[in-house]
């Protein structure tokens, strides 16, 4: 696993970045905004779901990545949560939700590339609307990706943000499964 940067034991770790135009980044103490994400269910039907309906009354980890099929996301960030899902569940986490600014077809294909995954739900924020509501957009146009999300991991308890580990961009330091387990 990656060695994470040394820092104080603050629960909310937000790296500074250029301020987003409209929304301040989500922070500890906020109620997570509602929004719609989409995915293909077991019967391969396209579903849209409200974030609040997924997270209300539960302890949920919501983590986000800049893009499907890009290395840090695919090789480090996501596997970390897949591998430690059982451990997270044993510590009281009800659900682990992954969101990315990709369409649901791409998220489905990307999810399939992790056949060992049992618990992480891959959700599509295709038009970056929810990412915008979280105040976590990142312009990756010069990499051919367009508007995406910063890498982050949130711990939500009945919709309230308890832990917010947010990278300034796509780097992988505070947003890992390892880091959020320390907070449980």
């Amino acid at each position: 696993m990656e060695r994470v940067a040394n820092r104080s034991r603050s629960r909310s770790i937000i790296k500074k970045s250029a301020p987003s135009r409209d929304m301040a980044p989500i922070a500890v103490g906020n109620v997570i905004p509602d929004g719609t994400l989409s995915y293909f269910d077991d019967k391969d039907d396209l579903q849209s779901v409200s974030v609040h309906s997924l997270a209300a009354g539960k302890k949920v980890i919501l983590f986000g990545v800049p893009g499907a099929f890009t290395p840090t996301c695919s090789l480090k960030h996501v596997p970390g949560f897949i591998e430690r899902a059982e451990e997270l569940k044993s510590k009281g986490v009800d659900d682990i939700l992954l969101v990315s600014v990709n369409d649901p077809f791409v998220m489905k294909a990307w999810a399939k590339s992790y056949p060992e995954n049992k618990h992480v739900k891959f959700l599509a924020d295709g038009l970056a609307k929810y990412t915008h509501a979280l105040g976590l957009e990142l312009d990756l146009g010069d990499k051919g990706l367009g508007t995406r999300s910063r890498r982050f991991a949130l711990l939500l308890d009945d919709l309230k943000v308890k832990v917010a580990n947010i990278e300034s961009g796509g780097e992988f330091t505070v947003s890992s499964a390892e880091e959020i387990i320390k907070a449980l």
Binding site: A68, T70, F105, G126, K143, G144, L145, G146
Partner: protein, 200 residues
């Protein structure tokens, strides 16, 4: 088969055009037979060759200017709504992959597949379809290529957002010789390999 091939000739752009119940909204398709693709697109429009992230880093995330793709070449290019979607994966790409020898016999220099996806998704998809040998995949990640040709299509209803029509074209030295555009992006009637092979 002529009736099913929408060979676009010039038409009024003021009122838009309804074809088969599908309105072409703000303006009619800009590209048509005779269009010079390189000249018709603004300078800053380019495509991103499908690649892995590492290849992106080592190439400095370079983009490919359209003239490198089209100048002095005989190119068959087809566009589709999205990587990993049904018709695109199961019919459209295989149709070109399976006819590669016939295209080579017609001295086609390259077969190009383009979609409004980022180049990393295009790369993963091309590898999944095992089509990288036959077809060059490019991402039009911000839709600018399709928009400048009037081939964009809003597929928000399908939760895809702004994408493109399903289309195919035969382009020689940058000039569009043949253009086929489906009435509906979910159709696969005029944009397949068999159709365009007869038109080359």
């Amino acid at each position: 088969m002529a009736s099913t091939i929408l060979k676009r000739t010039s038409f009024s752009s003021s009122s838009g055009l309804r074809i088969g119940g599908v309105s072409l909204r703000y303006f009619a398709t800009k590209v048509e037979a005779g269009t010079d693709i390189v000249a018709a697109t603004p300078h800053n429009v380019s495509l991103q060759k499908a690649r892995s992230w590492d290849e992106g880093v080592s190439s400095n995330f370079s983009t490919t200017p359209l003239k490198d793709i089209f100048k002095d070449k005989r190119v068959v290019i087809f566009g589709l709504p999205g990587a990993y979607t049904g018709v695109c994966s199961q019919q459209h790409v295989p149709s070109y992959k399976n006819n590669i020898d016939k295209f080579r016999a017609e001295k086609v220099d390259s077969i190009i597949c383009v979609a409004v996806n980022d180049p990393y998704v295009m790369n993963a998809w091309a590898e999944k379809l095992q089509a990288k040998d036959a077809i060059e995949f490019y991402g039009d990640f911000d839709g600018s290529f399709h928009k400048s040709l009037g081939l964009e299509k809003d597929l928000s209803a399908a939760l895809l957002g702004p994408r493109s029509q399903r289309w195919s074209a035969f382009v020689v030295d940058g000039k569009v010789k043949v253009l086929n555009v489906e009435e509906n992006p979910s159709d696969f009637k005029v944009s397949g390999a068999e159709v365009i092979l007869k038109q080359i």
